[in-house]
């Protein structure tokens, strides 16, 4: 739930063990930690340090895979492959209506908690409903496993980053996701601030710095004063719905238009085609960060059997992306003005987020701030590194570093005429508090309703509703009760509400009803579900791994059987291999990983001779060529031979 009433009691002292920093991104996520040398680093894994923030489900909503393995299924099974969940965190169905046209898992349903009236969206996968925090928890669990694998010990505590411009409900949803994943979230840190921490480790980066953070789905800009280990955020601005995704969408629209013009077919409703196009335009976008010209090639079985190739040069790309990139300029100017500075007074600019690789973004940033930007640290990794540093600051107490962050949005309460009275202004250093006194208007009134909102607009309807609650008051003459309500935004940017009876000095119990998100009970239940499903999850995961391996073996074997070396196989051997291939394929239709492994082992035994033949012929070929060819080309030939041997190993390398 987005509002936490003081809940700390006699909690046990902090357990030992490593604490990680997690960048839970729209497109990719990373986990980092600080080693004994005091330097942060990202935990590596299969497919690199980035873990795609993607969850793929099997038929019937069974969990299949997270991360790299899930990302592979985006094109094959778009209906059941969930990505960009971060865009849905802490939001209602109405909020996200515009997003839906780009999300293939478009079945979203709004749920309103009967008990609290809180709204939350759910994603429907074959009749199974998942909330955004649950889906994010699956990504977090993957990162947790990755870290545990690297450290060889359990990881139970984390610092997680969020866009600086996230509101209370979005922050709370992120915290809930952590809890569901079995992680105690020590702190929610703003992404640009985390990036500044990573840069600020070495004292070269001191003074006034601007962090320009343009990621897959969100844009943030923060201005900080960094001095002697103190990181003081002066202002922050941004847009939680502006990112590289938006550029992809423009490019996708263009491709869809061209397909319509050139081939007369409309693929906009074809989810598989849309995902294929999405993949192709992302590749083109990335290529244009280095090359002046590239091409987008789309081939789709049954729809575009003759591939369609569209050239795209950087100037055209810039023209398409400019309207989106230009939307980052307003927040930059706002942040500079809110910090009461001029661009010239900003000493350094730091680039964060994959979208800052786009040359036009760099040019625009340079124009706004009047100086070139820094990007020595990998823009994809810097936020996770900073989160790890903050985790280290919190748990070791050994660093002389301190972060003073701000709240991005003003906090207000509803007053007469649907007007919002602001009680904590945006860019206030957190923790921040405000106390308001409430009384009754009529004799015998037993309750005062308080509606808490977040936002910069004047009217209730234009601000974000955070919570409603009623202060219970024993019947008394009007104006006699005096209840002081304190609104405190903690260091995570999350609101806490406490009440006090001014006349008696007693604590006043307030039950806060959040407007969006999950209740504590719901989070608890999801946590239990996650534990109960942990074994099933592990099985599903092992199945995916076995299937991936089987598919690559089958592909390599298919190629090998068409090789000349295979001609030497006897017909019995050939039949044996074929029957074992069929058996392996059959196991892939099921769900048990053990069956796949067994079938693989059998196939492996059957292909032993074929592998030998392949290696033999590859070596013979190499030797023959070596004699014939000039010494200059020797190396290439040997490489070919090695490649052939490796290829043989690929379908027969399972005995290891």
């Amino acid at each position: 739930m987005p509002i936490e009433i003081k809940a700390h009691g006699a909690e046990p002292a902090l357990p030992k063990g490593r604490v990680v920093g997690i960048d839970l991104g729209t497109t990719n996520s990373l986990v980092a930690w600080v080693g004994d040398d005091g330097r942060p680093s990202c935990v590596d894994g299969p497919g690199g340090r980035l873990v795609p923030s993607v969850v793929a489900f099997g038929e019937g909503g069974g969990r299949m895979a997270v991360g790299v393995a899930a990302a592979d299924r985006l094109v094959i099974d778009p209906d059941r492959t969930v990505y960009s969940v971060k865009r849905l965190m802490g939001r209602s169905a109405e909020d996200v209506r515009d997003e839906l046209k780009f999300l293939p898992y478009h079945v979203l349903r709004e749920d309103v908690s009967r008990r609290t009236g809180a709204q939350i969206v759910r994603i429907d996968v074959d009749g199974h409903f998942f909330t955004p925090p649950e889906l994010s928890a699956m990504v977090l669990r993957e990162l947790k496993l990755r870290a545990e694998g690297a450290f060889g010990e359990p990881v139970t505590r984390a610092v997680i980053t969020v866009p600086a411009y996230f509101n209370d409900a979005q922050r709370q949803a992120t915290k809930d996701a952590g809890r569901i994943a079995g992680l105690e979230v020590l702190r929610i840190v703003n992404e640009p601030t985390a990036a500044a921490l990573a840069y600020g480790l070495d004292k070269r980066h001191e003074g006034t710095i601007a962090v320009y953070d343009f990621g897959g789905g969100t844009f943030d800009v923060s201005i900080l004063k960094v001095n002697d280990g103190l990181f003081e955020v002066l202002s922050t601005a941004g847009d939680t719905h502006l990112g590289g995704d938006d550029i992809d969408h423009v490019l996708m629209d263009r491709v869809l238009d061209r397909v319509r013009e050139a081939r007369g077919i409309d693929l906009a409703e074809d989810r598989e085609a849309v995902q294929t196009i999405r993949k192709a335009v992302i590749a083109a976008k990335c290529a244009l960060s280095f090359d002046e010209v590239t091409q987008i090639t789309i081939a789709l079985e049954g729809r575009l059997d003759v591939p369609l190739t569209l050239p795209l040069d950087r100037a055209t790309f810039d023209g398409l992306a400019a309207p989106i990139i230009d939307r980052t300029i307003g927040p930059c100017q706002q942040a500079i003005a809110d910090a009461r500075l001029s661009p010239a007074q900003i000493d350094e600019v730091i680039l964060v987020g994959g979208s800052t690789r786009i040359p036009l973004v760099r040019r625009r940033v340079e124009e706004v701030f009047g100086k070139p930007a820094h990007c020595e640290l990998d823009p994809d990794e810097v936020v996770a590194l900073g989160a790890a540093v903050q985790a280290d600051i919190l748990t070791t107490g050994r660093r002389d570093m301190l972060l003073l962050d701000v709240t991005p949005l003003s906090l207000g309460i509803e007053t007469m005429g649907d007007v919002v009275a602001r009680i904590i202004h945006r860019n206030s250093t957190i923790p921040a508090s405000a106390t308001e006194e409430f009384t009754t208007w009529v004799d015998g009134q037993t309750g005062v309703v308080i509606h808490v909102l977040q936002g910069e607009r004047e009217f209730v309807k234009d601000c974000r509703s955070l919570a409603r609650f009623t202060i219970q008051i024993p019947p008394m003459p009007a104006g006699l009760p005096r209840i002081a309500v304190t609104f405190l935004i903690d260091a995570n940017g999350i609101l806490h509400v406490t009440g006090r009876d001014v006349r008696t000095g007693h604590e006043h119990t307030i039950e806060v009803r959040p407007s969006y998100g999950l209740t504590d009970d719901e989070v608890e239940k999801m946590l239990l579900d996650a534990f109960e499903n942990a074994e099933a999850d592990l099985d599903a995961r092992m199945f995916v791994e076995a299937r991936t391996e089987a598919e690559s073996v089958l592909a390599a074997l298919d190629k090998a059987l068409r090789d000349t070396a295979a001609e030497e196989l006897s017909s019995i051997e050939r039949a044996e291999i074929q029957s074992r291939i069929a058996r392996l394929r059959a196991t892939l239709e099921g769900t048990g990983h053990q069956a796949v492994r067994d079938a693989l082992a059998l196939l492996n035994r059957a292909t032993h001779h074929l592998a030998e033949l392949m290696m033999d012929s590859a070596l013979k070929e190499a030797l023959r060529n070596k004699r014939l060819q000039a010494a200059l080309e020797e190396k290439d030939e040997l490489d070919d031979a090695q490649e052939a041997i490796a290829s043989a190993h690929r379908f027969h390398g399972l005995e290891r």
């Binding site: 902090l14 001095n227 003081e232 301190l402 206030s428 923790p431 903690d490 260091a491």
Partner: protein, 193 residues
Amino acid sequence: MTAGQDHWSAFELPRLLDIDPAWLDQTFRARSRELHPDRCFVDGPEAVDRAMLASSRLNDAYRALRDPFRRAETLLHEEGLTTSGKYSPPPDMLLQVLDWNELLDEDPADPLTRVAIEELSAELDGREQADREALDAIAQTWDDEVKRAVQSGGRSAMEPERTRLLDALRSLLARRGYLENLRRRAANVLGTR
């Protein structure tokens, strides 16, 4: 904030109006290093809760005292007085501000209007400077009173002077609040902001 603790007490100051900004910044940073919850995270949740309250009090006080006009508003509030709000025109300038409001509603694309708004903008800039000087003057007298009271260990003997200063402060803030709104509108119309 509990009774007897105003924003000045977070900096161990009496209710002064003239505070050296460099000193305030420096003290804020030093106290943040002592009080921030991150500094006592290892001591457990109760220590963090206490630090949360202490550091929010420091942050709130810093915000209330950092800007001299905001500080003056805080003083009025602590002294139990309210300002009339930024939307009521100052009585002694009523006719003038009515003209100005009318001018700002006109079409700025008209060159003559634009020139007039530019003149108004300059006029308002000048008044803002004058208001700062007026605040400085009040602050000097007020602070002398406060210091005298602190030295003599009690309230100022000159109660009427105290009331006069607070009244002056109140009308200054009301006028400035209104004029700042106009100044902002003029800047918006001219597109300089």
